[in-house]
């Protein structure tokens, strides 16, 4: 890239130009004032001369319109003739003989009073307006959206940095003008302007160039006072005819010199405004300026260059001079100014301040170099600068050295030669400036800016940005990053560093690849500096531009810092809505410390208050709504229950409901049934007018500070007509997704729906890091479609947050009772009022014993105004819960059982109209085992239809005692009686913990026809275990009453499924009472337990019963004959079939295979036979009575059967027959007449009616003892 066309090139061409010092009289100024301009202002626009084919537009300067018009008219000023024909650049000849042309030339016009070095403070005051001015223009930008990544990357370089920054750079450099060590700012010429109205203009000219008024640079010997002078007489046409001025001019020419005097007539137009009239005098200004430049200044400079070059060549060039120079410098630290043309006064005056006067060779070389630079002879300039730098270095004149290095760096750049050298020069200049301390700081800044611009021109953006950063660091020795948070003392230099940092940031974007993070970081640094220097708009702008860098990156502290500061500064600027938008990003910062959190929150609330009105915030982060915790609890056709019941697993309900309600899918699949509109909602849930739909959701406070949340309520919409709601619905479904907030209707539409539904409002205070679950309610008032859209709340009474529920995604947990069949949607169909039943069971026991008998009262209350009919109840365990009768409600339990009734479950129905079923669920949590009851039944061998029963009771509770109260049979044909020798079976009455008892009793089959008989006898189907005599409470319970009977049937059915016995006889019901122990503290009467043992059967069972009948004692005189005893065998057929039975008697010893009883009888010897019980037991316990088998050889039987040895009888069903038998006994004694056998055969009409085993069989005779005594 051509360095001259680059930004830096143009900058140098415009800034490092010859200076013309202007001296004016007050009257001359006054003449110019008529146009609103000063003399310098008037002349300046014409001081830029450009080649006609130059491509850059004229420099725009903020001048009044009159000059602008001029610029339009003469935009092609430059070296052109008066007719407007372009002239090519003036040929310039410097040291070399080869002339060349200047493409562009500019003269800087400066008042003499301004030719001095400025104080830093004053200079800074001048720069500040540049920045502040840009403030106003930045303001509208701040209201727009912050830039995005694409915007920044696609911006051209020029737009990346605001334009005013370049202006700022220029202003910053200008503060350094007219320094001592640089000569390019030193005036080349002096223009003296005197008005024609002045008295004695000639003497005024002399007075003007009075040394007292001249700038210090000239007076103090830093620069040569002998400069080119040019005299201008200014004539205002309105003040008089031009002749006066012409006279003065003639006079001037004669005294001051022919060529150096000019006349300039202004204000020639008669019109006062003079704007668009023919400004015929303006071309004269241009003409004058062109003449000044081309005929005076440039030739003067050319000449001076040549003179100086000659001088330098003679004194410094060449080997001899170099040696001399070196030697001379070494010899004396203090330079002698003696080798120049003597100006002793000046030298002595400034000897101690400055050893380089304009007469010193160093200064002259410098002037030579600068002039050459200004005339674009960079080669010459560079060679001189190089020469000079070694001198200064040897002299340790660092500031001058740095200045020379800087210029040589620029020369390298303009020559587009070695980049390395250029950079080296700039680097050494920069660091040298820094080394000399505070006086060089500003120079270092300028040098840095040039350096950075140089790097930017070459595309080395990254290096440029680091240079900027270094410069900014020097500009302010930085505290910005530690004092970010507080309002620090306003430091002016931080403003400069801010601007420089911003430029550094821009460079990072421009570098390849763009370093965006660095960009962001430096913008943030710049923003902080802006803020410290009280430029809030710029601070916000810098931060905003950095926002996109940090977006989506979870560098939490960075995000918080950026958003907080942007928000805060917007707030300070009074743009509250944007401020709040940014602060919203940070208020939920859980990772920050308590103080930071409260600071964020306080600022936030402060700005919200400043807004002065409540407003809505979508997805306010405070408090955090835990969406997965969302549960909608509504009452459809089934659900109206406590919270605990709501959570009962679905399968339990399904099981219970199976047969009771028609499946809703079946109902609704018929497309004819519903209108199409309703079918759309067929999967929706149902709620009822006037009943609240509850929504439970968790709120979490992420902060450590308690926050007050009030007016938490639901956002709902209830549309009464189906068409309207379906339209809305379609909108919602299409817009589902992230931009749901846009498609949802505005909040305000939901608010004024008070006629259709009411919502509950809830106020809570969330402590630090607390999570609370809240329940919100909405109560629809009319039928329609109710939509739950979201939740809204008010934070600290200041602002309203709202959030929409996300029903669309899969994770929602809503209370879908029917599992997958019911979709989770936020839409509820509001139906007409439904009857609502409340049901509860008072004193529902949480634990009970097995067999515990309780009265449970189910109280149903219809809370609605609608009647209920057809109430059905389903019990999951009908074995354990038996519904009672309505008439039994008021009975007292268990007294009602005493010969009365007992009610278990009662139902209440109210007004009966229309029905619907409701589910109620009651559960026992625990059932403990109590008593184990078992029965063993044996046939009684001595009586017909009698059994002996052993009852075993085991108490399995660890601590409870039970009183046995009553034992009952299920059927009245059975009678329970005690064993003959005992009064009752009441010997045991209390079974204490872990005790096991047995008792024996007898039961008798009274048969169906013998009920009457039973009435008279003492035998009853109930047997009381009377605890003691005279107890008033010993009434028996009536087991035939409803509850016990019902339970018994259930038990019987259940046990019957398990039992495999062939034939069951009877069932027992044992009723006991719990006493003592830790469980039953209350009245023992209340604690009734009933145990049902069903399908008890006898161990040995045969279809026929038989026993002997006859005299037990016979007295006979054996001396006469043997004794004959007549006995009968009674045989009873107990089955429903014909049986043929055969009786066989034995006289001989039966064979070994006979039963034990037979062995007993076998072993009987003549004479007395011991029939003690002991023997019986022994016989039973030992399989083979060895004791008795020792006498098998005894062949003489003491008695013989005599009537018959065998008899056959046929028995009809349920009849008895007697078979007469006769026995002959030969000697007195007691005999067991059991050696007979009974064989039977069942003649069954229907095969299969009787068990195969029992179709035929046989049995040994029962023992029958006959005692025969010798008759005396």
């Amino acid at each position: 890239m051509d360095p001259l066309r680059s930004y830096l090139g143009r900058l140098l061409l415009e800034e490092i130009t010859p200076v013309v010092m202007v001296l004016t009289t007050p009257l001359a100024e006054a003449a110019c004032r008529k146009s609103g301009l000063s003399v310098v202002d008037m002349l300046s626009p014409f001081s830029l001369f450009k080649k006609i084919d130059g491509d850059s537009p004229p420099r725009c300067s903020p001048l009044p319109i009159i000059v602008c018009v001029t610029l339009v008219a003469f935009h092609s000023i430059g070296f052109c003739d008066l007719m407007g024909n372009p002239l090519y650049a003036v040929p310039v000849r410097t040291a070399s003989d080869q002339p060349y042309r200047l493409q562009m030339f500019k003269i800087r016009m400066v008042y003499a009073s301004d030719v001095r070095k400025q104080d830093y403070e004053v200079a800074d005051q001048r720069i500040k307006p540049v920045v502040s001015e840009a403030n106003e223009s930045a303001l509208p930008d701040l209201l727009s959206d912050p830039p995005q990544l694409e915007d920044v990357l696609s911006k051209p370089e020029a737009e990346l940095c605001p334009l005013w920054i370049k202006k700022f750079n220029r202003a910053l450099m200008r503060t350094l003008s007219f320094s001592e060590h640089e000569t390019f700012d030193h005036p080349v010429a002096c223009l003296l302007v005197v008005s024609s109205k002045d008295n004695e203009p000639i003497s005024k000219f002399v007075d003007l160039f009075n040394t007292n008024q001249l700038p210090s640079l000239l007076n103090e010997g830093i620069m040569d006072p002998q400069i080119l002078k040019h005299y201008l007489i200014l004539h205002d046409q309105q003040d008089g005819p031009q002749e006066i001025a012409m006279n003065i001019l003639a006079e001037m020419k004669s005294t001051l010199g022919l060529n150096d005097c000019k006349l300039l007539c202004i204000n020639s137009s008669t019109e006062a405004d003079g704007a668009d009239a023919e400004n015929s005098w303006l071309p004269y200004i241009k003409d004058f300026m062109q003449d000044l430049a081309s005929n005076h200044i440039i030739p003067y400079m050319e000449q001076k260059i040549r003179v100086l070059n000659q001088q330098v060549a003679t004194t410094r060039k060449g080997f001899r001079n170099q040696i001399k120079n070196l030697w001379w410098r070494k010899r004396d630290d203090v330079p002698e100014a003696a080798n120049g043309p003597m100006q002793v006064f000046a030298v002595t005056l400034f000897f101690f301040f400055n050893r380089y006067t304009f007469t010193s060779i160093e200064s002259q070389i410098r002037v030579l170099g600068d002039y050459a630079f200004m005339l674009r002879d960079y080669e010459l300039a560079l060679s001189n600068y190089r020469l000079l730098s070694t001198d200064y270095k040897l002299d340790k004149a660092w500031k001058r050295f740095a200045g020379v290095q800087e210029m040589s760096g620029l020369c390298y750049f303009m020559l587009d030669q070695s980049r390395k050298d250029a950079e080296y020069c700039m680097d050494s200049a920069f660091s040298t400036y820094l080394r000399i301390g505070s006086s060089g700081k500003r120079n270092a800044t300028r040098c840095g800016i040039w350096w950075a611009e140089m790097l930017k021109t070459r595309g080395q953006y990254r290096e440029a940005s680091s240079v900027y950063y270094r410069v900014s660091n020097e500009e302010e020795f930085l505290v910005y990053y530690t004092t970010l948070m507080e309002f620090s003392n306003v430091q002016e230099p931080s403003l400069h560093s801010a601007v420089l940092l911003e430029q550094a940031a821009c460079c990072y974007v421009l570098s390849k690849p763009p370093m965006l993070r660095k960009y962001g970081f430096h913008l943030v640094l710049a923003g902080n500096s802006y803020y410290i220097s009280d430029q809030k708009q710029h601070a916000v702008r810098a931060y905003r531009n950095a926002l996109f860098v940090y977006k989506q990156h979870p560098w939490s502290y960075i995000n918080d810092h950026v958003h907080f500061n942007v928000g805060r500064w917007y707030g300070v600027l009074g743009i509250f809505d944007v401020a709040i938008k940014h602060l919203l990003e940070v208020i939920a910062c859980s990772h920050q410390s308590l103080t930071t959190q409260s600071m964020f929150l306080n600022d936030f609330f402060h700005f919200v208050q400043s807004m002065g009105k409540k407003f809505d915030v979508y997805k306010l982060q405070l408090p955090v709504i835990n969406m997965p915790s969302l549960r909608v609890i509504y009452e459809d056709h089934r659900t109206y229950a406590s919270d605990a019941d709501v959570n009962v697993s679905e399968s339990i309900w399904q099981e219970l409901e199976e047969e009771m309600i028609p499946s809703s899918s079946i109902v609704r699949t018929n497309w004819l049934e519903k209108s199409p509109d309703l079918r759309k909602y067929k999967d929706s849930c149902v709620c009822v007018v006037g009943e609240a739909v509850k929504v439970r959701i968790e709120l979490r406070n992420p902060l450590q500070i308690p926050v007050a949340v009030s007016c938490i309520s639901l956002i709902c919409q209830l549309s009464t007509s189906l068409d309207a709601s379906s339209a809305v619905n379609s909108v919602l479904t299409t817009g589902a997704g992230e931009d749901i907030a846009n498609t949802k209707p505005a909040i305000s539409t939901f608010e004024d729906d008070g006629n259709n539904f009411t919502v509950s409002k809830l106020d809570i205070v969330l402590g630090g890091s607390e999570t609370k679950s809240v329940q919100l309610e909405v109560t629809p008032k009319v039928e329609g479609i109710l939509k739950l859209h979201g939740i809204r709340w008010t934070l600290s009474d200041l602002l309203v947050g709202y959030q929409y529920f996300e029903f669309d995604t899969k994770r929602k947990t809503k209370k879908g009772k029917k599992g997958p069949r019911r979709t989770l949607s936020n839409t509820l169909i509001v139906i007409k009022g439904l009857p609502k039943l409340t049901g509860c069971i008072d004193h529902l026991p949480t634990n009970a014993f097995a067999g515990d008998l309780r009265l449970l009262k189910l109280n149903l209350r219809n809370q609605s105004e609608y009647a209920v009919k057809n109430i059905k109840m389903k019990l999951s365990h009908p074995r354990f819960v038996i519904p009672g009768d309505l008439s039994e409600v008021d009975f007292e339990f268990p007294q009602c059982l005493r010969k009365h009734v007992q009610s278990e479950i009662s139902t209440v129905s109210t007004k009966r109209t229309q029905g619907d079923a409701k589910g109620l669920l009651f559960t026992f949590s625990q059932v403990f085992p109590s008593l184990n009851v078992s029965f063993a039944i044996r046939m009684c061998s001595s009586r017909l239809k009698e059994y002996i029963v052993r009852m075993d009771i085991l108490n399995r509770t660890p601590s409870e005692s039970f009183i046995l109260h009553q034992l009952s049979c299920n059927d009245s044909k059975w009678a329970i009686s005690s064993l003959p020798l005992c009064d009752s079976i009441r010997s045991i009455e209390t079974v204490s913990a872990n005790q096991s008892v047995s008792c024996f009793f007898k039961i008798k089959d009274l048969g169906t026809n013998s009920c009457k008989e039973a009435e008279n006898s003492s035998c009853r189907s109930d047997m009381l275990f009377l605890s003691r005599e005279g107890n008033s409470n010993t009434e028996g319970f009536d087991v035939s009453q409803s509850p016990i009977t019902n339970f018994h049937y259930q038990e019987r059915y259940q046990q019957g499924r398990l039992a495999k016995g062939p034939r069951d006889l009877l069932d027992f019901i044992l009723i006991s009472k719990a006493v003592g122990g830790n469980y039953s503290k209350s009245d023992p009467d209340v604690q009734l337990l009933s145990h049902h043992v069903c399908h008890c059967s006898a161990i040995d069972q045969s279809p026929i019963w038989w026993f002997m009948e006859g005299p037990r004692t016979v007295t006979h005189d054996f001396s006469k004959s043997y004794c004959e005893a007549n006995i009968q065998l009674v045989i009873h057929n107990s089955v429903q079939h014909n049986i043929s039975a055969r009786v066989v008697t034995y006289d001989s010893v039966p064979d070994k295979s006979q039963t034990v009883n037979l062995q007993d009888s076998n072993s009987n010897q003549g004479g007395w036979y011991d029939v003690s019980l002991e023997n019986d037991i022994k016989a039973i316990s030992t399989a083979k009575g060895t004791h008795y088998q020792k006498q098998p050889s005894e062949s003489i039987s003491p008695f013989v059967w005599c009537s018959l040895s065998s008899a056959q009888v046929d028995l009809k069903p349920d009849t008895s027959t007697k078979v007469p038998l006769k026995v002959c006994i030969f000697m007195p004694g007691t005999y067991n007449l059991s050696n007979y056998q009974l064989q039977w055969k069942v003649h069954s009409s229907e095969v299969g009616q009787v068990d195969e085993n029992q179709r035929s069989g046989g049995g040994q005779g029962h023992p029958f003892y006959v005692t025969v005594l010798q008759d005396a």
């Binding site: 660091n473 930085l478 990053y481 530690t482 970010l484 948070m485 990072y508 690849p513 370093m515 965006l516 993070r517 660095k518 962001g520 970081f521 430096h522 943030v524 940090y550 990156h553 979870p554 560098w555 939490s556 502290y557 960075i558 918080d560 810092h561 920050q592 410390s593 103080t595 930071t596």
Partner: protein
């Protein structure tokens, strides 16, 4: 002497998955975001350097005033197993400190990180929340830094 150091592990997507202020200097709330800023900005430099060097340990890749950023990172380009770990970067922001100590610190933390990484319950790229890891890293920092 109170030293300051801030250690961070930055995942592939420039997300910090672990951060710790490990210096012995008293922790200042204000500085937390400053350190993040510096580390975040240094990622630009690291990104450039990553393709131009084979070294795992890069000392002083970036500096901000007197704070220096050192980086330790992997580029297991060819090893399939470590593909997932590519581009996890350990970044340490410290004031001037011995290079050897920092290098040893990085190597030890690397081992710890691999242990975390091999945990089947750890999702690569997610935040490291293990308190055990945290204590270990802080202990290492006390030893080496």
């Amino acid at each position: 002497m109170a030293s300051m150091a801030c250690f961070a592990i930055v995942s592939k997507n420039d997300i910090p998955i672990y951060e710790a202020e490990v210096g012995s200097a008293p922790k200042k709330e204000d500085l937390a975001y400053q350190h993040q800023f510096i580390l975040h900005a240094a990622l630009d430099v690291v990104q450039d350097l990553a393709w131009s060097t084979n070294a795992m340990f890069l000392k002083s890749v970036d500096r901000f005033n007197d704070l220096v950023v050192s980086v330790y990172f992997y580029l297991y380009n060819n090893i399939v197993f470590f593909n997932l770990m590519t581009h996890a970067r350990f970044m340490l922001l410290h004031d001037s400190r011995s290079e050897d100590g920092i290098k040893s610190f990085f190597q030890e933390v690397h081992e710890l990180y691999i242990k975390i990484f091999l945990n089947p319950l750890y999702l690569p790229g997610s935040r490291i929340t293990s308190s055990h890891f945290d204590t270990k890293v802080r202990a290492l920092a006390r030893r080496y830094l």
